[in-house]
Amino acid sequence: MYFSDLGIIALILALGFAVYTMFVAILGATREIPQLIASAKRSVLTVSFFLLLASAALAISFLTHDFGVSYVAQHSSLAMPWYFTASAFYGGQEGSLLYWALMLSIFSAIFVFMAKRAPAVLVPYVLATLMGIETFFLVVLATVSNPFVRLHVPLPDGVGLNPLLMDPGMLVHPPMLLMGYMSFSLPFAFAVAAMITGKLDSEWLRSIRRWMLVSWSIQTTGLVLGAWWAYHVLGWGGYWGWDPVENAALLPWLTATAFLHSSMVQERRGMLKVWNLSLVIASFALSIFGTFEVRSGIISSVHSFAYSAIGAYFLAFLGIVIVFSIGLFIFRLPKLRPEQEFDSAISREGSFLLNNLLLVGVTFATLWGTLFPLISNAIRHETLTVGPPFYNQVDGPIFIVLILAMGIGPLLAWRRTSTRALRRNLGIPALAAAVCAAVLPLVGIRDIWANIAFAVCSFTAGAILYEVWRGVRVRHRHGEPYPIALYMLFERYRQRYGGYIVHLGLVMLAVGVIGSHFFQVQQDAVLKPGQEINITDHKLVYFGNIDTQYPDVEIVTAQLQVWRGGELQQYIYPGRQLYRSFADQPASLISITTYGLTDLYVFLANWQGPSQATIRVFINPLVPLVWLGGLVMLLGGIICWWPARRKRRVDVIDAIPKAESEPVEVRVVQGAGVVHGEEDAT
């Protein structure tokens, strides 16, 4: 008996319990038998227990180097340090699917524990949907993609992990991204439950919004970590290459972002129900597409680590998801009528519609570009790929308009805005944009698109900061010192100000992207000792190569001096790592030094003996802002979904009837609280 046998048994038991949950939950809901629903809840916990057991079995197989297990033999070796051996768990297809299934079961278990907060009618259907998805993954894991398959003859040593994956990024990026894909299951389950029961009220919306915010935060983290990994490992000086797999990860993030905005319209005005449901379904379908695309190898990509024939299974599953959702949708359509009518295009609702149009436009353009090789192949039997220039030209302008809308949108009132109020609100941000547009060309920014983009970013940043400042000032006038006023704004109106933080983070990220896209400087040189590269105001002097031999790896580094503005800054050692088992794939050790907001990115492209090196240098302005912006966005996301203490909610609810019963003059005094509480209070 090996641990892998235990793993197989656990997988099959988990599958059994997942199927059982589905039937019992639906039966319990239709016959209204609470005992059956309670049994379904316990059964979900059992599924996650068995999946934990199966994952532990795989992890132990890795850590004890059980090379009798085919998956372990193909993805690890004796020489690997223990943390890479452990992370090889999700280094291949079987393991990453097991990880997906494990995370889904854990999130389902979390849902079971928090089920008291969700509308009771929905719970059994949510459980059934989640376990339906789980069943698919478990079937795949138990049959075509089983991580526990044993070899007839155990190998003495494993093949090892692809060198590109032997990086600290490996420890955090794939688990985050896979978890992100998985997490879209929960909003989807809520959507299915709502369509079956017909209960799409504000309570439902609150639950689904919270889960979608969680998914959004995880996916944001996964995307930023992926960009960071690419920047540190791939050596082409960038962090986002519009690679099909990167696109696939971006797509559900875009539709989730669209949902988070348009659902506010439903929350406030009871409109756009149909549209919101479609966005939730689209997010889930796109996340399955993303999981499937990486696996199938139908589109060539730099992420070609895991190919296999299970693409067909995923395609079938995707088909079932789409057909099932559309079927339910049509069945439920008569109930999805808007509760209120639309008033004016110049209103918050109007700006959310524009936001959705643009986000869905980007989603579609990106999906279209990603699938274009397949489409062109079907039409003309010629695979025509679509590269970064296409996405930059199509998606770039849409993003700029989106950022502009992000600045104007929050300034508009619900229903309709008086143009005078709008003009006054726009004054300061417009001034910020004008200053930016006037100063930047004079200090040497000579690209017209970069200038437009920077002006838009400063407009939006100005609008957000001005809005926060006004809130602080109003509170201050009611007797709070400035720092406390700022803190109270965030404490009381989390969703609103958390959202502003996210927007600010996105603006920072955009500034970083614009800077590195338009002003990256690149230089290649073949150097002999004593020779130098001059690039902008940096000078690199080459000394020679250092070759260090370890039992399993050989490391070659080039030694260079960095001079900046005539002063010696430091020595840097860009290099390559040659693993014995993957001698033809030298992993790169890229030297990235940050001076202020500029990255000096040095890559050892090639070398000859101890005294010749081909060096590629990039000056990447503003890239640190991309990481900083990502962090700020994550922070804002967490502020938004962090559960408010119960007491707060009572406070806000108390405030409303009071406001309605008292005369106008009194209300104005507490006006700030009520106005800024609008997102929370309703």
């Binding site: 070609s304 010629e382 590269g387 009132a413 008086s418 001034l431 004008a434 060309p441």
Partner: protein
Amino acid sequence: MRKRRSFLLALAVAAIVGSIWFYVFLVKPPQQTLDQRVHDVASQLKCLVCQGESVADSPATLSQQMRGIIRQQLQSGKSEPEVIQYFVSRYGDRILWSPPWQGLTLLAWLVPIALLLGGTLLLFFVLRGWHTQSDCVSPGDGATGTDVRHEKDMEYYQQQLEQELAAEDPIFATHLPNIEWEAN
């Protein structure tokens, strides 16, 4: 009077920015270095021996040679499109990173643009439809009474708050009439 002043202010700012841009981008158009031009051309071409990398980014030998050819041709006075055309005539359309604006690949460009325009148009009509509907429906319809009253109160607060803010705002500090908002 106040309206005119802020209008003039906006006009002056626009004129200053406009003249700077006119001077910087039209009178003294930016000169690109040879390195930048090589990089621009190379990033339009796909590295044929790599997975998903452009000639500009790829460290492969073939790409290095191609960058050399691009540099030579640009130095000998060819324009960027001519250099790209040279590579297309040798390798075919598949070397291009972005699909050309012709033939089948025109589809790659037109479909997203058409859909976006279609979406904008749809949005416009939907908005207009809603707008005219709400003109004949009295504001109290469609929702519970308290909700709408609450809504109106909110709006009232917002206006009051904004007026209050404007009164202390150095930039807009002029007298405002009492609350009589044109709701357009």
